[in-house]
Point group: C2
Chain length 337, copies 2
Amino acid sequence: MRAIAVDAMGSDAAPLPEIEGAILAAQAQHAEVILVGPQDRLLRELERRSAKGLKIEIVHASEAVTMEDEAAKAFRRKRDSSIRVAARLVRDGKVDGLISAGNTGAVMTTAKILLGTLEGVDRPALAQVFPSSVHGKASVLLDVGANVDCKPLHLEQFAVMGEIYYRVIFGAEKPRVGLLSNGTETHKGTEATREALARLNELNLNFAGYVEGRDLFNGRVDVIVADGFIGNVALKISEGMVDTFSSLLREALSSSLPSKVGYLLSRRAFERMKKRLDYSEYGGAPLLGVKGVCIICHGGSNANAIKNAIRVAAEFSEGRVNEKIERELALASLSKN
Amino acid sequence: MRAIAVDAMGSDAAPLPEIEGAILAAQAQHAEVILVGPQDRLLRELERRSAKGLKIEIVHASEAVTMEDEAAKAFRRKRDSSIRVAARLVRDGKVDGLISAGNTGAVMTTAKILLGTLEGVDRPALAQVFPSSVHGKASVLLDVGANVDCKPLHLEQFAVMGEIYYRVIFGAEKPRVGLLSNGTETHKGTEATREALARLNELNLNFAGYVEGRDLFNGRVDVIVADGFIGNVALKISEGMVDTFSSLLREALSSSLPSKVGYLLSRRAFERMKKRLDYSEYGGAPLLGVKGVCIICHGGSNANAIKNAIRVAAEFSEGRVNEKIERELALASLSKN
């Protein structure tokens, strides 16, 4: 079984979702879990939940990075932060990967510096899984925030990394890859996307060319490549729309007696729908391109989201995603010489 | 009353939505309407609908641009297209503005070349109205597709144009303006957005600084500025998500007998909600920065969308949006010298 370190002080409600998620993951035998954070407190909470017999250990960390901390400063000053201790466990080979629901910038900075990047990768990229309207399908968008001002070469590397991640985690044989643009015709896009389009056409990929914003959700492609600025805007629009839609729905359904009764009758259907839109089912956003495994979860993660992230981290490691990324990038680079 | 030319051959179901929308607008006395397209056919359809006594005229155009036509080619080759004839009417001062639900690229190209740009405007920008989760509020995003690879100066001009448009059309005294970025801190963004941020801070605007993708819908700001590449991706993500929600909702609600009954009871609530998400209520996307008025509607526009676009075109002209844009840009440029 793989060993996964969980930053226990990351989420908005830390350390409870982390502890409960760790228990769920250990019960399901997804991985051995190492909780990283204030030893006494974690031990007390674990004992209260009768987690005896489960493969959960605690490694002490005396500090925690907050959402307000600036990434680079937090890295320099909080040398015993739970994020940094967890990353050190990965670097030293004591665990296979880490997950954190903490400050995204701080997790990325820490992972990039302490773990280092894979051979052939210039910039790690954060990949986010999106639910799709096609049942049981999901799509992956990268980069959603690690890098702004990307060069075509970076977009090419993102495509290779995203494709391998999708193949391993979603069990797809030949995932379809698209490049996010403002239209599907080849003359569309920016200078950078047009050069990336040419590069991606040269790769041994199931490449669909340019895709549009709406293709994030309709199942047309599995992996969507964008620079971190656009990817981040795209991610936050989607999150904003889910919130807007939920609040409009709630408002509409409480507006009259018939609609209230209607809501009660349809409640299970709504809950199923909400579950399909729920990001926590998909197990967090992997930072692709760093050595080891680093999965970043939403600050609002619940125990279920943490459990799923632990599962994905273990699958990531078992599926040898990193080895495959290094091999594919070496091949892509060879074929050009 | 203002006179507005309607490209009768633009929408997917042309000319019916255009004719019916023209009738609705004339009945509501929004404007005098000039339908531009094949005279015989338009006359026949108008007669069939007993539009006598309404202020609707027909101006003949023998050709139509299709969605497949390339913009520049269509402009050169289809010299008697309904888009081009409508734009000529504006240029020659025979009408105050035009609306078209046709090929967006072709409408923009035609308007830019035939109408020309306002004093002080380097690049016209397409502005899209978004519904917000705050009741009765809307936000405007620009540019949604007229320009990729924008320079900071262009973003500054977009902000000035969008603010004036919002002020006139939504009757807001001091609309709040934001610049779309991947985070609200000033060190975020690309090189171009950071320089634009500094420029926008210098303007006499109610400027909120950087905003994120989720702020498109939460009413935090009224006007959101972005380059045309990002704006277009944002627009299409939103459209895609509305479709995804609708299909998930439909699927969820037809999944069991209780939820079907529930749906019947809540139907009016759903319809109200759909109406709030419905772009057609907002009257199309103005191409800001060209002389005259040019409003571009969705290809799937119905009669109601056409009617609203005619109303907005008339209000745009009556509210002297263009005069105000030229004045503000001259002031902004003066204050720098």
